[in-house]
Amino acid sequence: MTRQNRMQVLCLIAMPLLATASPAMAGWKLKPAGQAAIVDNITITPAADWNQWTGRPGKQGRTWTRDGFELNSLEVFSGVPNGQPLYRERNRKQNPLPKFDKSMLLPDLATFFERSFRTYYNIADFTVNETVPDSISGHQGIRVTYRFVSATDELVLLGEARLAVVGGQLYAINFFAPELHYFDAGIGEVHDIMDGAQISAK
């Protein structure tokens, strides 16, 4: 086997593995309680200790969790530019992510979020419960509350996201957790985090 052939075989082996790589297996960084944390262009201050994943769910995104992604996930997206998706593409050919458009109106943001979330997490059973006006760091936006069922365990999860367009870029904070115990246990602190978030972009 030539070197070139060997490389081709290795790439063929690597591709499906990379496609199914588990995001849970990256590194972690402690985000201590009471300390302001700069997450790209957003500053948030948690009341409890959180863990920040060293990987990224999207180019402008970060994920925090307290007990693991399936039990509580807090995603912070700061400054998604025009024409870019919220999350990383997982299957661009068969299931592409929608692209953010800076001309989107607030109701469009809710649809954009729903399509992005469903596609990235491959969710079949997803319902938006409510979409209402809200804000991030004083900028007008929307709040989307939603419910979905995980494919792995058929577990019902609830979520709440706030989205706003600032300077033509999208900012979003999204929390989701199982309906049983974990959502109620976390949403109080998450509301404080969302209310206190400061966008530093100009």
């Binding site: 290795l10 593995l17 990379l18 199914t20 790589a21 849970a24 972690w28 693991g68």
Partner: protein, 249 residues
Amino acid sequence: MKMKNHSAALFAVLFLFLSVLSDTPALAQEKGAVREGFSAEALQGQKIVLVRPSVWVGEQSMAGVPEPNADWTAQSRELLVAELGRRQAQFSNVIIAEPELVGPEAKLFADYRSLFSTVARSVMVYQFFLGNRLPTRKKGAFDWTLGDGTSRLGELTGARYALFVTTRDEYGSTGRKIFQLLAAGIAGVGVQSGVHQGFAGLVDLETGYLVWLNADGQMGGDVRTEDGMQKRVRQLLEDFPGLAEEPAH
């Protein structure tokens, strides 16, 4: 020379990913834990409800995608229930079966069964895998909960504790096995063929705390056969407080 460096870099990247994906010893793993302060004495005289087990059996495609097999799943569920029934006499506690409920109460049991699987998997991934342990759990305390809403299960059954059992088995397809051989033969690295997860956990229904857990992503025993299921259940119940040990066959 340049090509050689390229190959070395690709091998390094491959090894990193394959190590992660194939559960090699690069990631040391714990398999069981007991909540601080809990012991077999705490169980004395307490009733335990055995929640209907959660069973999933299927095949793993060449790319590692799981595909369910309804026949295997039904067969395994039947074998698991029978084996748990056979082992019931070896518990030092009164074990009762999940009652036949309908409507919202049946859904409540189903929901907690799902939550248990999710929590147990989270313990395995974020605490038992030492290389992936969350910084907030670095001190190692076993402190996981299903929430105090579990008290409703206690009211419905009269039990203080609930024993949950989950198994998930993805048997490697022929394509996956060939892929495994190719990866080992050409790249010299290990690729996992098949997933054999098993979780057994005891929950204090008054508080919701997980007080004992066995969770392993590489369990033994072919769950499609009686002998294999006996082995699986033996592994699942290993170190259960107050349970008489069964000799390995």
